[in-house]
């Protein structure tokens, strides 16, 4: 049994490997690499939010705010108005075998810099 000190020293890579023993090491490595890039691409507020509550908010050029949930790439974008969820959007990378963190980064970039295109391609859910 590992103690707290040992657990703190465990890398993200090893942490993911322990949590998902059925996942190939190359997939775990890819996810860790993608996760590092995602975290480096977020603002400090977005990073703190993602790590605390597993979502972050992106503001589109229109001023509308979107909440991007971690954990899955489909139906994970909430369209917000005055803090309330109006509806959900599902828009993700066409290659679903790509790391989850890549999906989240792609959503963030699209909402921020190509909002209209994301709204056109995404499906709306209640």
């Amino acid at each position: 049994m590992r103690n707290q000190t040992e657990l703190r020293r465990i890398s993200n890579h090893e942490r993911m490997r322990m949590a998902q023993p059925h996942v190939r090491p190359s997939q775990i490595q890819a996810e860790a690499k993608a996760r590092d890039l995602l975290l480096a691409s977020l603002t400090s507020d977005q990073r703190a939010s993602l790590q605390a509550v597993r979502w972050f908010v992106v503001e589109g050029k229109s001023g509308r705010r979107y909440r991007v949930h971690d954990g899955h790439a489909m139906g994970n974008v909430d369209v917000l108005e005055e803090g309330e969820v109006l509806y959900r959007l599902c828009g993700h990378l066409g290659d679903t075998s790509m790391p989850l963190a890549d999906h989240l980064l792609a959503q963030k970039l699209m909402l921020e810099a190509d909002e209209d295109a994301f709204l056109q391609l995404a499906n709306r859910h209640a």
Partner: protein, 75 residues
Amino acid sequence: MTEHQMNILDRSGHTKISWDPSNADEVQFARGVFEEKTAAGFRAFMVRDGERSTRMDDFDPSAREMMLVPQLKGG
């Protein structure tokens, strides 16, 4: 050397292409990759620390960091 980079999202997480803007060969290689990917449907974004990212339609060798993202689809 001032390193500029392009991160191409893919199944490995991402592939990084770096270039020195003062090195014509490196710039040409990076431009070629950019044009190949965008012709194949990738979207390009310029990323700057602390600022909103912006769409790029043309390769800019002076850009410090770019992200190239494969096509998205609705689900």
